[in-house]
């Protein structure tokens, strides 16, 4: 591993005249004398100092603002001279340190922070800073940028409590607070919790019976059997997919104004399958971020890359595709950093990070990994690949798709080789007449043609020149408006259709057949060949022109001409993007060649065979069919976009060119040059990455316990929350990566079987006072069900839940008129049959109009990466589960289920209760519901179902039903 520059600065700098080893001792004496204390505990920068600097100083002296030339983000800058000439921190010498002088000052003009910026530092904070400087002003990186290390198991008083290593750290902390863990949860409480956590639906009575029977004799093995059963259930992937879909901002629509439908659900199914198959997280990462760059990607490898095609696509009329291509690329950077690194890297789009050591430039180095994919906000979501339903056929489809792309490039490349050889064969072709159907054309002496004025969509240029004998090929060169590459890309320039006509002296016209187009490079949605057969696609820069372009058009046969004949060239420019914006060519020249080799090339057997193969591949692909899904694909090397910084984050003010790269503080791979997206993905899951394993372990922990060891799942930086159990977090991260080999299931198994997870959630008065938010984990978790679980549980308990997996999203009942979308006739047509009762993860996600019940229960809109759902508790939630017709239907089925249990009403109610409580319900519970039933029956004496429906409706709304 590469030495990390900041590691060196972690050792104290020698103090003038005093050996390093002495300075610490000298200081202790100093403090001891000053404050009359016994020798103080050594200061730990991350624990004691960084929080003070972050709280009081870095808003002005940070990465964005370095007021007075002082920044407390990097040690070298903190130790440098400020603009005033004073040195803020002189290691070993608080008296000489301007910092201490200013924070201790009583002069309003001198004191820091300035009174209008914040309160004075407390005495203890000032002492800490002094002590720290005296001890040598040791610096260490923020914990999250330091690799996790293996810590010895902490000592605990009650050695018998723990079941797995993680329990030791939890118990040690509980004991250090003079508290004790809670007793074991009753088996029914544990079974409900683990079932909802692992598969998202509550246990059935049969599952309870079999578990409780075994639990009597051997609790440990009973629990193990349950956990293993749940982990191998197909329902597992459906439950955990929701977590990933939030991060991936998965939706079934494009987003933005028009928000049209997008078929990307095959990727959602890929996630469910990958989770069910327990795909190790390193593979899961690499496939999604760079599956397309793997040496020979399978169908699923390519499908996985749709992860980053969940970005929004703007199809609103008049929008600039380049603006939203860039927006999508920025979103990929921010999502990658939030999902894998829990780092607010997005801050550095506009400036260096205010608190964490990421320079502004690093953002654009990282953006380069996503800057050269083929997608560019086109309305058809290009590029897409058709994925047939069967995994085996998917492999064939992707293999054929890749073969086709390779072959197409090969054909063009052979044309390019010829062009290189014949580069001297061109003669500039200056038209004698030039006219346009809109705007105006001006022809210069050099033959350059410039269009001006209004150039409507489909504008046609007609050029003519004296015919020349033996022309075999034409060459078109398109130039941008500006000569300055920093002004590129600019409005597109596409030749959609070209027609060549020979005009005899008598005015007779004869079409000249055109055979083939060779392009400088292949990129974008159109094949240049389209120029010869329709006025839609064609050759050029689309939707934007990224720089000069050229192509060669080879004729079918040499031109034969007679004296006085003319050639007429009709250029048509019908290509449009967003809302009918045209892409007319503005500046161009034509040349001609009479070399016979062009014709030899198009007529050669090799060439013909290759074209036939291409056709064959197309028809094979056509036959395979399937759903077209947007994927990541890299642009061909000829058409790479420039990677540049954006000054203050604005793409319209481009700065210096940059190379792809990974921030220094994040311990980049040794390989420095030519880093690819695949290298980046591999770095994320490499051993040197300090965050990925911690972030994932923390996220999985939070899903089970309701809060992370780092509460801010989205931010592990200095502005995020500190870990409540830092050593445990390291332990879990290393265990996940090194011992479970990134297996999410193995990790969850260990958590689910831990003593910590097995505690009762009953909250004592003492715990409520000393630890209201259960940050110590001294009791079992009690969390509200997620939006999807609220639905799935009700479906499961009422007996309606469909076990059908995968496929296009479904439309469970939703009130009329919720979808009133602009410019769209999209209709919510309620699904029929079992699709009406599918699990929540399959419900249609429309970004601009989410499923109301889910939004009410805190599901995100999926506009952007969402790392944490904060559970709220509102009256609108009550209205959903009480009155939403979907829930009423479930209550009705539950009532019927209770009714069919037979026996007296009391038994029916008892059965209904048990579906939730598993064990015999308490007398008070049954009494309450019997009373309700009796009153409801009095109002509806002839209705057998309705009183029970009210009971069922009540059961489904219980706090204990909505919690796990």
């Amino acid at each position: 591993m590469k030495a990390h520059p900041n590691e060196h600065s972690a050792t104290p700098a020698p103090i003038k005249g005093i050996p390093v080893w002495l300075s610490g001792a000298a200081f202790m004496l100093f403090v001891g004398t000053l404050h009359g204390h016994a020798s103080p505990e050594p200061i730990e920068f991350n624990r004691d100092i960084r929080p003070i600097l972050s709280k009081h100083c870095t808003a002005c002296h940070g990465g964005v603002k370095a007021a007075g030339g002082i920044s407390f983000i990097y040690r070298d800058k903190a130790l440098a001279k400020g603009k005033s000439g004073e040195v803020a921190i002189v290691p070993g010498n608080p008296g000489e340190s301007e910092l201490i002088k200013r924070i201790s000052s009583t002069d309003e003009d001198e004191v820091m922070p300035k009174p209008e910026h914040g309160a004075r530092l407390s005495e203890s904070e000032i002492i800490k800073l002094k002590t720290w400087i005296t001890q040598g002003a040791n610096w260490s990186e923020h914990w999250a940028f330091v690799p996790p290390k293996q810590h010895p198991l902490p000592q605990v008083k009650d050695a018998s409590w723990g079941k797995v290593p993680l329990d030791a750290w939890i118990l040690a902390k509980i004991e250090s607070e003079n508290l004790a863990p809670s007793p074991n949860a009753p088996p029914q409480e544990w079974l409900r919790r683990v079932s909802l956590d692992l598969v998202g639906i509550p246990p059935t009575l049969e599952e309870w019976e079999s578990f409780s029977a075994e639990y009597q004799n051997n609790p440990r093995s009973a629990k193990e059997h349950v956990v293993d059963r749940l982990l191998s259930s197909l329902r597992f992937g459906e439950r955990w997919a929701s977590m990933w879909l939030d991060l991936a901002r998965y939706a079934d629509t494009f987003g933005y104004e028009k928000d049209p439908h997008r078929d990307i659900w095959p990727w959602r199914d890929w996630v469910i399958r990958a989770l069910n198959a327990d795909m190790p997280f390193d593979q899961f990462t690499i496939k999604q971020l760079a599956g397309d760059l793997l040496p020979s990607p399978t169908g699923d490898d390519l499908l996985a890359t749709a992860f980053h095609r969940n970005t929004q696509n703007n199809t609103e009329g008049g929008t600039d595709d380049e603006e939203f291509r860039v927006a999508a690329a920025l979103d990929r950077v921010n999502t990658t950093w939030t999902a894998w690194q829990a780092t607010t890297f997005g801050c550095t789009q506009c400036h260096s990070h205010p608190y964490d050591p990421f320079p502004h430039k690093d953002y654009y180095r990282f953006l380069s990994f996503f800057n050269n994919t083929e997608d560019n906000d086109l309305n058809d979501d290009f590029p897409r690949v058709a994925f047939p339903d069967q995994p085996s056929t998917r492999d064939t489809a992707v293999r054929l798709w890749k073969e086709r792309a390779t072959l197409r490039n090969k054909i063009n490349d052979s044309g390019l080789t010829l062009e290189k050889r014949l580069s001297q064969s061109w003669t500039r072709w200056t038209p004698t007449e030039a006219s346009a159907s809109g705007g105006a054309l001006a022809v210069s002496d050099s033959g350059k043609i410039d269009a001006s004025g209004t150039l409507p969509v489909g504008v046609k240029y007609t050029l003519s020149m004296p015919a020349r004998e033996g022309i075999t090929a034409l060459r078109l060169e398109i130039s941008p408006d500006s000569q300055d590459p920093k002004k590129w890309p600019e409005r597109g320039s596409v030749l959609s259709e070209l027609k060549l006509t020979l005009v005899q002296p008598d005015g007779k016209k004869e079409a000249v057949p055109l055979r083939e187009v060779i392009a400088d490079y292949l990129a974008g949605p159109f094949d240049p060949q389209e120029t010869l057969n329709s006025d839609k696609g064609g050759f050029g820069g689309y939707p934007v022109l990224t720089g000069p372009r050229w192509c060669v058009i080879v004729l079918d046969a040499p031109i034969k001409t007679i004296e006085g004949a003319k050639l007429e060239l009709l250029m048509s420019q019908g290509a449009v993007y967003n809302g009918g914006q045209g892409t007319p060519i503005r500046h161009f020249v034509w040349s001609t060649s009479t070399d016979a080799q062009w014709l030899e090339w198009v007529q050669s057997e090799t060439h013909k065979t290759e074209l036939a193969q291409l056709k064959g591949l197309d028809s094979e692909l056509q036959k395979l069919g399937g759903v077209k899904v947007p994927i990541l694909a890299e642009r061909s090397s000829g058409g790479l976009r420039a990677n540049r910084m954006f000054i203050r984050g604005n793409r319209l003010t481009p700065g210096d060119d940059v190379e792809p790269g990974i921030p220094e503080v994040s311990r980049p791979p040794q390989k420095q040059d030519g880093l690819s997206r695949l290298d980046m993905a591999q770095w994320l899951v490499s051993e040197q990455n300090t965050l990925t394993a911690r972030v994932l372990a923390n996220r999985l922990w939070a899903e089970c316990f309701g809060r992370g060891l780092v509460e801010t799942l989205e931010d592990f930086g200095t502005s995020g929350a500190s870990p409540s159990h830092p050593e445990l977090l390291d332990h879990l991260a290393l265990r996940l990566r090194n011992e479970h080999h990134w297996s999410i299931k193995s990790f969850l198994r260990e958590v689910a079987l831990s003593a910590t997870y097995g505690q009762s959630h009953k909250t004592s008065k003492q715990l409520l006072e000393s630890d209201p938010r259960n940050a110590l984990f001294a009791r079992g978790p009690r969390i509200r069900l997620t939006a999807e679980m609220v639905r799935d549980q009700s479906l499961a308990i009422s007996g309606l839940l469909s076990s059908k997996m995968f496929g296009a999203p479904v439309y469970p009942p939703q009130p009329e008129g919720v979808w009133n979308s602009t410019y769209s006739n999209a209709k919510w047509t309620t699904s029929e049959g079992e699709d009406r009762y599918r699990r929540g993860v399959y419900t249609y996600v429309k970004r601009t109009s989410g499923y109301p019940g889910y939004l009410t229960f805190d599901a995100p809109t999926r506009d952007a990466c969402s790392a944490r759902r904060i559970p709220t508790n509102t009256p609108l939630q009550a209205l959903v589960t009480l009155n939403d017709p979907a829930f009423v239907e479930m209550a009705e089925h539950l009532a019927k289920r209770m009714l069919s249990a037979g026996g007296k009403i009391e038994e029916q109610i008892r059965f209904g209760c048990r579906l939730f409580t598993l064990t015999t319900p308490s007398k008070s519970m049954v009494d309450t519901l019997l009373k309700l039933h009796a009153k409801a029956l009095a109002e509806n004496p002839n209705d057998a179902v309705k009183p029970l429906l009210l009971v069922a409706n009540t059961l489904l709304n219980m706090d204990s039903a909505l919690s796990r």
């Binding site: 703007n314 970004r847 601009t848 109009s849």
Partner: protein
């Protein structure tokens, strides 16, 4: 009648359980924010709210002149040049080629090449003491001219509907940021706990272009998102008891539910359970209160004539009347969207010489009625009414695809648009800022959406720099941290 009367008038009170409030003492629930330090508002520290009482009324940084906001957004953006911003010079240039100097460096949604200039399409007159200009499309609104405060010099940096609407409501063109209504309810809570604090009403048959993000809660807790209510069907989604379940039966189930949940409190000791009991009771009261609030039949014939409202339908007029009823009941932020103002001239319905007339007629009476009605009820004083679109329209006639079009229309213009306000602490009868002689660019006292938001928050009692929420390491605010130079428009304040 004022808002306070409604608070005490808890209908169906006899059915409401009384004990839950005392059981649900505040402070049991967890604070929303991980950090913990003292006071509610402090230097640099955000407001902390208890998820058990997310709408508990709180004060701003100071006492604001406006207690509530009615924000009327005409989605698509009405032409300021044909309603308020009178430009005689533009009339003189009508039909001539647009000077190229006006086109250089400008980006349009649809105009291509050199379009023709388009004069005002309707005749203008001055009204009232204030002398505000109105075209003949809004004769009724003109009668309350002296109550209105115009900003003629609004500018934005977005020229497409979705992003521009987001900027006007969230301060950023990207989805994912809280709307002004979410900020207001997060900052102030609501005066009525039995209705949502932030209510959205939509007319014109479609939701606004940017979708529900324009009333979203972004990174604020989701309870602060606007609740879209409807004047047809259930006013709040799932408000009505299911078919066949009576109010009494609902009460029975809630009683049983409260008993069961009390048992759970005993068993698990989780304060969240207490909160849930309270929220179910609140839902029950909301059923009565929202149904009552949305019952337009309670209004007199005179009122309906004033607004041109008709109970049972979905219309801008009904929404204006509902806005007044909600304002009376202490709802903090009432947001109206009316769809169909995108007068490009590409079709009859969106032509300035066709559909635009009907749209104007549909809002003219209700707008005048709303101002008059709020005023006569003493509500205008502390209710801020805002009217506007997301950008302006061009003084050039649109020539989509570079061709002449069948109908008359104007393209989007981010360079100038008009917004008006009334009540709630703004100086009535004045006009602020000005555009050039063609109404093309704001030239005098330009007002950005951020300045506008700073002013709106000031009227509600907030320093826009201090109403913040920590996100991704940054204290985010409505006035967009990436935009500098934002200020409160002091001249607008009464």
């Amino acid at each position: 009648m004022n808002a306070r009367n409604f608070h005490s008038q808890a209908s169906l009170q006899h059915l409401t359980r009384r004990h839950f409030l005392s059981d649900c003492a505040s402070g049991l629930g967890a604070l929303w924010l991980a950090s913990s330090s003292g006071h509610v508002w402090g230097a640099g520290s955000p407001l902390k709210r208890d998820p058990a009482h997310p709408f508990q009324p709180t004060n701003g940084h100071f006492v604001g002149r406006a207690k509530r906001v009615i924000y009327i957004h005409l989605a698509g953006s009405p032409s300021q040049l044909d309603l308020f911003d009178y430009k005689p010079d533009l009339a003189r240039l009508d039909g001539q080629d647009c000077p190229t100097s006006l086109l250089a460096g400008k980006q349009f949604a649809f105009i291509q090449g050199v379009p023709k200039m388009l004069g005002p399409q309707y005749s203008f007159k001055q009204y009232g003491q204030s002398g505000h200009w109105f075209s003949d499309r809004l004769p009724n609104l003109a009668t309350v001219a002296d109550d209105l405060t115009f900003i003629k010099s609004m500018v934005t940096d977005q020229f497409n509907h979705g992003p521009a609407q987001l900027v006007m409501h969230t301060g950023s063109q990207n989805p994912g940021n809280p709307s002004a209504g979410a900020w207001a309810t997060y900052g102030l809570g609501s005066e009525n706990q039995n209705l949502p604090g932030f209510i959205v009403l939509v007319s014109g048959g479609k939701n606004p272009d940017a979708g529900k993000s324009v009333w979203g809660s972004g990174f604020l807790p989701s309870v602060y998102q606007g609740v879209q209510c409807r004047s047809k069907g259930d006013p709040v989604l799932f408000l009505s008891n299911p078919e066949g379940i009576t109010s009494n039966e609902r009460r029975l189930t809630l009683d049983a539910l409260a008993e069961l949940n009390q048992q759970t409190v005993q068993e698990a000791g989780d304060p969240e359970t207490l909160t849930r009991i309270a929220q179910y009771e609140m839902a029950f009261r909301m059923q009565a209160n929202a149904t009552d609030a949305f019952d337009l039949k309670q209004e007199t014939q005179t009122t309906h004539e004033l607004y041109r409202s008709t109970p049972g339908g979905e219309s801008f007029a009904n929404n204006c009347l509902l806005a007044r009823r909600l304002a009376e009941r202490g709802v903090r932020y009432i947001q109206l969207f009316d769809y169909g103002w995108d007068s490009h001239g590409a079709s009859k319905s969106e032509a300035l010489n066709e559909g635009f007339k009907g749209k104007c007629e549909s809002v003219d009476r209700p707008l005048a009625a709303l101002i008059t009605d709020l005023k006569q009820r003493g509500l205008l004083e502390d209710t801020l009414v805002v009217w506007g679109g997301e950008f302006g329209r061009t003084p050039m006639q649109e020539n989509r695809s570079g061709a002449k079009m069948a109908f008359i229309g104007r393209d989007h213009n981010p360079g100038a648009f008009t917004v008006w306000m009334a009540g709630g602490g703004v100086k009535p009868g004045i006009s602020y800022g000005a555009t050039d002689d063609l109404g093309y660019q704001a030239v005098e006292d330009k007002v950005s959406p951020h300045d506008f938001h700073a002013t709106l928050l000031h009227l509600l009692g907030f320093d826009h720099m201090r109403l913040t929420y920590p996100v991704a390491g940054l204290n985010q605010r409505l006035t967009n941290v990436t935009k500098g130079g934002t200020h409160v428009i002091k001249s607008l304040l009464a």
